[in-house]
C-alpha cells in the first residue's frame, strides 16, 4: 500500500503502469473485490457525475436559499458566442465544475470528489477534456482512479475536510487530484502527474473555508471554477516539463501544517472571511430570518 506520492510514483514506474492501475490494484487488494466490481463501482460514480454536469449546464438549477444556480449554464451560452478570452476548453471545464456544484447546492445528486463542496473540479475538468481528447469510457474511469490515488494520499497525510484544514483541503485537494489525472489522461508520465499536483496545490495553499451563512454555496461554487482552471494550467505546465521545486509530498505536508495553524473562524464555521462581510451577514440574516443585531 502506498503511503505517499513518492511511493505511488515509484510503484507505477517499477511496474511500468499508470497511476490509475496502481489504485485499481490496491482497491482490489484492500477490499477483496474483483477488478470488474471495482471498475463497476467507479463507472456508477462516473455516471452520476455525467448526469450532474448535464443537468447543471442545461437546466435552470436554483438552490433553496437562492444564492446560487444558473452560472454554469450562463457560461455555456457565453462560450457559444465565440467571444471568450480564455479559450473554450478552459471555460468549458469551469462551466462544468460550477454546474456540478450548483446541482449540489440545489440538493441534486452528485458524487463527492473528495467532498460535496469540492465535487465540481474533478468531473468539470474530465467532461471538458472529453471534448478534446475523446477518451474511451475506460480511460474516463481511469481518470477517476488516478485522481483518487492522489486524494487518498492527501486524505491520509493531511486532510480533505474544510472544518479541519480550510478550503485548501477541499477545493485545493480536488484541484491537485484533477491536475494529476489530466496529465495521465493526456499521456504524461507518473512523475509529471506528481509535478502537476504539486504545482496546483501550491497555488491553493492558505485558502480558507468561509462559506456565507455556513451554506455550501458562496464562495464554494466559484472556488470550484477556479480550481478547475488552475488544474488545467498546472497540468499543461507539468506536461511542458516544468517541475515543482518543492516535491509533491512536502507541498501536501505544508498544506496540512497550514491547516493546523488556521484559526477556527476560517474553518467552516461561518465566523470569518467572506461569511463575516456586511453582505455575507445580510444574506445570512435573510436566509435564516434572524435579525442582524442578534448575530
Amino acid at each position: 500500500m502506498f503511503r505517499n506520492v513518492a511511493e505511488l510514483i515509484e510503484l507505477a514506474v517499477s511496474k511500468k503502469c499508470k497511476i490509475s492501475e496502481i489504485m485499481i490494484q490496491q482497491e482490489m487488494d484492500v477490499t477483496g473485490r474483483s477488478r470488474e466490481e471495482v471498475l463497476g463501482f467507479m463507472d456508477r460514480n462516473l455516471k452520476v457525475m455525467e448526469e450532474a454536469v448535464l443537468r447543471g449546464i442545461t437546466e435552470d438549477v436554483r438552490s433553496h436559499s437562492g444564492l446560487t444556480g444558473g452560472d454554469g449554464k450562463l457560461l455555456q451560452t457565453y462560450i457559444k458566442s465565440g467571444k471568450s478570452l480564455s479559450g473554450e476548453l478552459m471555460l468549458d471545464a469551469v462551466s462544468k465544475a460550477m454546474a456540478t456544484n450548483e446541482v449540489n447546492a440545489a440538493m441534486g445528486t452528485i458524487c463527492a470528489t473528495p467532498t460535496a463542496g469540492s465535487a465540481g473540479v474533478v468531473p468539470g475538468t474530465l467532461f471538458a477534456l472529453k471534448e478534446k481528447l475523446n477518451p474511451t469510457r475506460e480511460q474516463m474511469i481511469e481518470y477517476l482512479f488516478a485522481a483518487g490515488a492522489f486524494g487518498f494520499v492527501v486524505a491520509n497525510n493531511a486532510s480533505i475536510s474544510g472544518a479541519a484544514g480550510g478550503c485548501q483541503a477541499e477545493v485545493g485537494s480536488a484541484t491537485g487530484m484533477a491536475a494529476a489525472a489530466i496529465v495521465e489522461l493526456a499521456g504524461g508520465t507518473p512523475s509529471q502527474s506528481a509535478e502537476a499536483m504539486a504545482i496546483a496545490l501550491k497555488n491553493m495553499l492558505g485558502l480558507v473555508c468561509d462559506p456565507v451563512a455556513g451554506l455550501v454555496e458562496v464562495p464554494c461554487v466559484k472556488r470550484n471554477a477556479m480550481g478547475a482552471s488552475n488544474a488545467i494550467v498546472a497540468a499543461d505546465m507539468a506536461l511542458a516539463g516544468i517541475v515543482s521545486r518543492i516535491p509533491c509530498d512536502e507541498v501536501i505536508d505544508a498544506m496540512y501544517k497550514i491547516g493546523l495553524t488556521m484559526p477556527s473562524a476560517l474553518r467552516e464555521t461561518a465566523q470569518g472571511g467572506l461569511a463575516a462581510t456586511p453582505t455575507g451577514r445580510e444574506l445570512e440574516a435573510k436566509i435564516f430570518g434572524i435579525p442582524l443585531n442578534e448575530k
Binding site: 433553496h64 474533478v122 475536510s161
Partner: protein, 220 residues
C-alpha cells in the same frame, strides 16, 4: 491510515449540499431506523452545535428524516422526506438545542411506536462518515471507519463466545470490540468493528443465537 478505499475519496454518491451536514445526517437517521427495525410512528430529533445553527440551509432536517425513512445518501426522495414522513403518518418533532456537545455536528434521534422506542446519538465527522456515540443510554465509540455489528444481547456468560465463533467460522476478523451494560444480568450491548462487511447469512446466523435479541449492521 484513516481512509482505506478509493471510494472514500471518489464518493459517496449523495444528495447535496454537504457531505457532513446532509449525507452524514442521512446516515445517522438510517442507523436509527435500522436499530429500530421497522417504520416508526414518531421521531424526535434534536440538533446541536453547527447542526443546530445551519440545519435548515444544509437540508440536515430532510436528510435525517430521509434516513429514518430508510433512504440511502443518494436517494432523491430525501428532498421530499418531510412531506413523505407526514403522508406515512410519522410524527416529526425537531428542535435546535443550545447545549454544547463534544462534537459540533451532533444529533439525538428518538424514534418509536406504541410498543417500543430507541434513542441514538450520532455525530458527523466529515466526508459523510459518521459515528454513533450513544444507544439507549449505552455510551459507544463506534468509529465509523469500519463496518460494524451492534448486537443487543442478554448479559450472560457465553454471549461473546457465541458471536465470536460465528464470525470466526465465516472468516470475519474483529478489529475492535466493546461490551457494555447498564445493569448486571440485564440487557447488554456488543459493538464489534470488523474488517469486511458482513452479509445477510452471517446476520441471520447471529440473530438466531438464543442469547441475542437484535443484530444491526453498519456498512463501511
Amino acid at each position: 491510515m484513516k481512509y482505506k478505499s478509493v471510494f472514500d475519496i471518489i464518493g459517496p454518491i449523495m444528495i447535496g449540499p454537504s457531505s457532513s451536514h446532509t449525507a452524514g445526517a442521512a446516515r445517522i437517521g438510517r442507523v436509527a431506523r435500522s436499530l429500530f427495525g421497522r417504520k416508526p410512528k414518531y421521531a424526535t430529533i434534536s440538533f446541536y452545535g453547527s447542526f443546530a445553527k445551519t440545519y435548515r440551509g444544509h437540508g440536515t432536517d430532510v436528510a435525517i428524516v430521509g434516513g429514518i425513512l430508510d433512504y440511502d445518501t443518494f436517494d432523491t426522495r430525501i428532498v421530499d422526506a418531510l412531506t413523505i414522513a407526514k403522508q406515512e403518518g410519522i410524527q416529526i418533532t425537531m428542535s435546535a438545542e443550545d447545549a454544547v456537545t463534544d462534537h459540533p455536528n451532533t444529533a439525538r434521534v428518538i424514534i418509536g411506536d406504541e410498543n417500543d422506542k430507541i434513542e441514538v446519538v450520532g455525530i458527523s465527522i466529515g466526508g459523510g462518515k459518521i459515528e454513533i456515540t450513544e444507544l439507549n443510554g449505552f455510551a459507544l465509540r463506534l468509529s465509523g471507519n469500519h463496518p460494524a455489528l451492534l448486537i443487543v444481547h442478554n448479559d450472560k456468560y457465553g454471549a461473546i463466545a457465541g458471536v465470536a465463533n460465528i464470525l470466526a467460522k465465516h472468516e470475519i476478523n474483529i478489529g475492535h470490540m466493546e461490551v457494555s451494560r447498564k445493569e448486571k444480568g440485564k440487557e447488554a450491548l456488543m459493538v464489534i468493528e470488523i474488517d469486511q462487511n458482513a452479509d445477510e447469512i452471517i446476520i441471520n446466523e447471529l440473530s438466531s443465537l438464543p442469547i441475542v435479541q437484535q443484530v444491526v449492521k453498519i456498512h463501511d
